[in-house]
């Protein structure tokens, strides 16, 4: 039971489940708190993990994940590597709109150790949107939380007429034309 699957459990009524995967636990926690602070009309539960796979013991208690957010710190190569290895434990059907890469650290351009192009490429490879932000700034953190809540609402199927797959196709850069 190593691979994370999007549709192997039943959804809960009027709720969305978010999984944050990232190596910086403090930042992760701050973001989670910011998300819970956002005004919303559905229940959000957030699960934090430093890497995948998730431990299999308590798997039957875990709800179905609606959106997986991989956090990458642009200042640490390790965070990218960590995400790359974790991606192997995500079922392919997750990439039909239920994965998002969140790149933080754009506020310290001089300390960058990852090229933004590398992350963009990762997003393209996995057909998932890449959001850039600076979670150290409180205002940006709140704004990012708001954006994630909007995405989660769609991924949890709470916006009539908009599916996760259709949404992610909007979010992707249309390079092909």
């Amino acid at each position: 039971m190593a691979v994370l699957r999007p549709f192997d459990k039943l959804p809960r009524l009027n709720s969305g489940v978010l999984l944050l995967v990232g190596s910086d636990e403090a930042l992760q926690r701050q973001l989670a708190e910011a998300i819970l602070h956002e005004k919303r009309d559905f229940n959000i539960s957030i699960h934090l993990a430093t890497s995948l796979p998730l431990p299999s013991e308590r798997d039957h208690l875990r709800p179905r994940m609606d959106l997986v957010v991989f956090m990458i710190d642009i200042k640490s190569k390790y965070s990218l590597k960590n995400v790359e290895t974790s991606l192997a434990y995500v079922d392919a059907s997750f990439f039909l709109g239920k994965v998002c890469f969140l790149v933080t650290g754009v506020g310290r351009v001089n300390a960058c150790s990852i090229e933004t192009n590398a992350v963009r490429k990762l997003g393209e490879t996995y057909c998932s949107p890449v959001l850039f932000c600076e979670l150290e700034l409180e205002g940006v953190r709140a704004a990012t939380a708001q954006r994630l809540v909007r995405m989660l609402r769609i991924c949890a199927g709470l916006v009539p007429g908009v599916s996760a797959l259709s949404f992610v196709s909007l979010m992707r850069k249309s390079d092909d034309d």
Binding site: G107, V109, G139, A143, I154, V162
Partner: protein, 746 residues
């Protein structure tokens, strides 16, 4: 010391409108207090502390002055104390102009240890301006080469950072050759290049210098700093620099503001109190006799002798300050528009280009002087400022308010010039993908509206892709703001295209078809994001209002801007508007459709009469699409036949069986202007007025003559769009039209 200074530069009164006095006489007053004592007394009141600081600073200055004249006393403690005094004053209030000569001399003469020199250099923060003389002296010491390489490097960095604070640059420019010789030093080269970049004027560009630069480039490879200088040379003398250089670079120079940046901002803020940004901007205009710019000889000559006499008479009569033709008019005395007109031949831009932004007269001037170097100066300054102070790209930047007001200033200047700055454009391309959509929202989006007309596919990945991503994930208010600014962008592009066509400038990328394509792409883009947004926001009327506002511009492109382009709104916008619950949006839609009709009829007439040879005509598909929409509209508002007759693939057409399942009686007469959800309120009010006693609300009463009354009633409630639409598109039908433009009509 002050006397000496003032005798040296009698024509440069430092008239900075600044509350904090920087004259040395004021510092003298403070010196009366025993500084040694009060230094230890940390608990003393703030003003007292301030005064004592001034006193200790003066002591420190005189100490350092003596130290360089005679052999430096080797007492470490005394030295340390004075150093502390300079540092603390500098960081708190900045140094007075008089201090710079002394301290720069000390630093560059290499009399003290490098650590002392470094500390001194780092604390050289101006309270107001830096006198040019002090810098000239410093450069001469630099050439003597008594100080170490590190200090030389730090001094150059300091010079670059403080360049805008130097009150004149005339003599400094005379040292151009000296700076140039430092290029040979590999370590200093990047910074020297930067200094030269700031200093270069047309007359400095010489063939031998170009040769040296090219040699250097051959030796060191393509370095961005050398390229920067070469591209500047090329700009001034394109015929002499024949090599091709890469286009716009992201950054030419490394940031060298490091140690001073924060301190300058802090000092400025403390001295100014209010907006520290505006001070930097105003500083430039308050300079008496700014540096002489390279001046087109032709510009000066025509106004010369012929008008001198006239000017002399004028001067006697009025109090206008008019200068002789070879003298420049001090920019800070420019107060009125007539003054601008009378001195336009002898004006010079201030040494700080940024000050132009807040001065409408200088903006006027900038508009009529088409000097490339002006834009280059502004471009460089603005680009750096935007990049380094952008609050969402720089973590350690607490000045969001400041940045906001700066963006506001820039936007206003853009509106004034009716043109975007390229530095802004680049800034947006660079930072929009990193933007959170909240910080300085309205200011940033306003800047978007001034992005110049250019190939859509070029700017799409930098502008429209990130904007779309933000748009889809942000709040409805953000969506509305984006639509608003894209409307402005469209209008600006359209105006620009009109001007371009009028002037008949037709370069490769501004041909008519090119223009039409770019505008069409923008409209399609907005159509796409609008459709999605309507779905995401559950057909919000608020959002719809903004979308229709955008189409209010689109529908009139042909008649208003003379561009052969007509794009109908997508079905995802049209149908929600047609079936919207509020009359304002329906009314707006009616007006838009009426304007579409007017445009299409005009186009058809032009086509038929063949008055002019038409390069373009609207495709039949456009007419067809219009007709489909009109059928749906007339069906919804007039004939109750929308469900049967709508031919649009995404339209309302429904099977009769399906309709009968709705169990609505008399389907064929139950969906028109009386029953439409947006009009229901009006029809109920109308019924109450014509038969006050009746509470059954018999809508069928509204027919025949009462139908006309009902229409009058609607018109009187301000539904002018509806009126225009009905009168243009429907009454003709009912009168069995003998229309000329038959295929436009239903």
């Amino acid at each position: 010391m002050q006397r000496r200074k003032s005798s040296k530069t009698p024509k440069q009164p430092l008239s900075i409108p600044n509350k904090s006095q920087t004259d040395l006489s004021a510092w003298r007053k403070g010196a009366k207090i025993d500084s040694e004592k009060s230094l230890q007394n940390n608990q003393s009141a703030d003003d007292q502390k301030c005064e004592s600081q001034e006193g200790s600073l003066e002591q420190a200055l005189s100490y350092f002055q003596k130290a360089q004249d005679s052999v430096a006393p080797k007492k470490k403690s005394v030295e340390q104390e004075h150093l502390d005094a300079v540092e603390s004053t500098a960081l708190e209030q900045g140094l007075p102009p008089e201090g710079f000569e002394i301290l720069l001399k000390v630093v560059l003469s290499g009399r003290f240890a490098d650590t002392v020199n470094t500390r001194l250099l780092k604390s050289l923060i101006p309270a107001s301006v830096i006198p040019e003389n002090s810098v000239v002296t410093a450069v001469s010491w630099l050439c003597v080469g008594k100080c170490s390489g590190n200090i030389q490097l730090l001094f150059l960095k300091w010079l670059i950072t403080m360049f805008d604070f130097i009150d004149h640059k005339e003599q400094l420019n005379a040292l151009y050759g000296f700076f140039f010789s430092f290029l040979q030093d590999e370590k200093l080269c990047p910074y020297v290049c930067h200094v030269l970049y700031l200093l270069t004027r047309k007359e400095n560009v010489r063939p031998f210098r170009i040769r040296i630069l090219l040699d250097l480039q051959a030796k060191m490879g393509m370095q961005s700093h050398l390229q920067a200088l070469l591209s500047l040379y090329k700009l001034f003398c394109p015929e002499q620099v024949t090599i091709t250089l890469p286009g716009k670079m992201k950054t030419y120079f490394k940031n060298s503001e490091g140690p001073w940046k924060a301190a300058i901002t802090a000092v400025r803020q403390r001295n100014q109190g209010s907006s520290p940004l505006s001070q930097a901007v105003f500083l430039g205009t308050s300079q008496p006799q700014s540096r002489k710019r390279k001046w087109n000889a032709q510009l000066v000559i025509p106004a010369s002798s012929a008008s001198t006499k006239h000017l002399d008479e004028d001067r006697e009569k009025s109090c206008f300050y008019l200068c002789s033709p070879n003298e420049s008019f001090p920019v800070e005395q420019l107060q009125t528009f007539p003054q601008l007109l009378q001195n336009i031949h002898c004006l010079e831009f201030p040494s700080q280009m940024g000050s132009v932004l807040t001065n409408p007269l200088l903006l006027h001037y900038m508009n009529c002087v088409k000097d490339e170097s002006i834009y280059l100066r502004l471009y460089y300054w603005m680009g750096q400022r935007l990049q380094e102070e952008c609050p969402w790209c720089v973590v350690d930047n607490p000045y969001e308010e400041e940045f906001r007001s700066f963006l506001e200033t820039v936007y206003k200047a853009e509106c004034f010039l009716q043109e975007g700055f390229s530095a802004c454009e680049e800034f947006l391309y660079k930072t929009l993908p990193l933007w959170d959509g909240v910080c300085c929202r309205s200011e940033v989006l306003r800047l978007v509206s001034w992005i110049p007309l250019s190939s859509f596919s070029d700017i799409k990945p930098y502008l429209f892709d990130p904007l779309a991503q933000l748009f889809f994930t942000s709040s409805i208010y953000f969506k509305c703001s984006v639509l608003e600014s894209l409307k402005e962008l469209l209008q600006n592009w359209l105006i620009r295209s009109v001007i371009q066509m009028d002037l008949e400038i037709s370069s490769v990328n501004t041909t008519l078809s090119g223009l039409v394509n770019v505008v069409a792409e923008l409209v399609h883009f907005v159509g796409w994001i609008s459709t999605v947004a309507m779905r995401l926001e559950n057909n919000s009327t608020f959002l719809l209002n903004f979308i229709l506002d955008f189409y209010g511009t689109v529908c009139d492109i042909y008649l208003k801007y003379n561009l052969p382009l007509l794009i109908m709104p997508p079905a995802g916008v049209f149908y929600p508007a047609l079936l919207s619950m509020d009359s304002v949006n329906l009314n707006q839609l009616c007006y838009i459709m009426y304007r579409y009709r007017a445009n299409l009829v005009a186009a058809k007439e032009n086509e038929l009469s063949k008055k002019k040879i038409l390069q373009f005509k609207f495709s039949n598909q456009t007419y067809q699409e219009y007709n489909q929409y009109i059928i749906a509209m007339v069906g919804c508002l007039w004939t109750s036949s929308a469900f049967q007759k709508d031919t649009h693939p995404q339209g309302l057409c429904m099977d009769d069986k399906l309709l009968s399942k709705t169990a609505v009686k008399e389907i064929k007469s139950s969906f028109n202007i009386v029953y439409h959800p947006a009009m229901m309120g009006c029809s109920i009010k109308f019924l109450q007025q014509i038969c006050p006693g009746d509470t059954t609300l018999n809508f069928k009463l509204i027919k025949g003559k009462k139908w006309d009354w009902y229409l009058e009633y609607l018109y009187s409630r301000g539904l002018k769009g509806l009126k225009a639409f009905i009168e243009s598109s429907i009454s003709r039908v009912s009168q069995a039209a003998r229309s000329k433009a038959g295929n436009v009509d239903v």
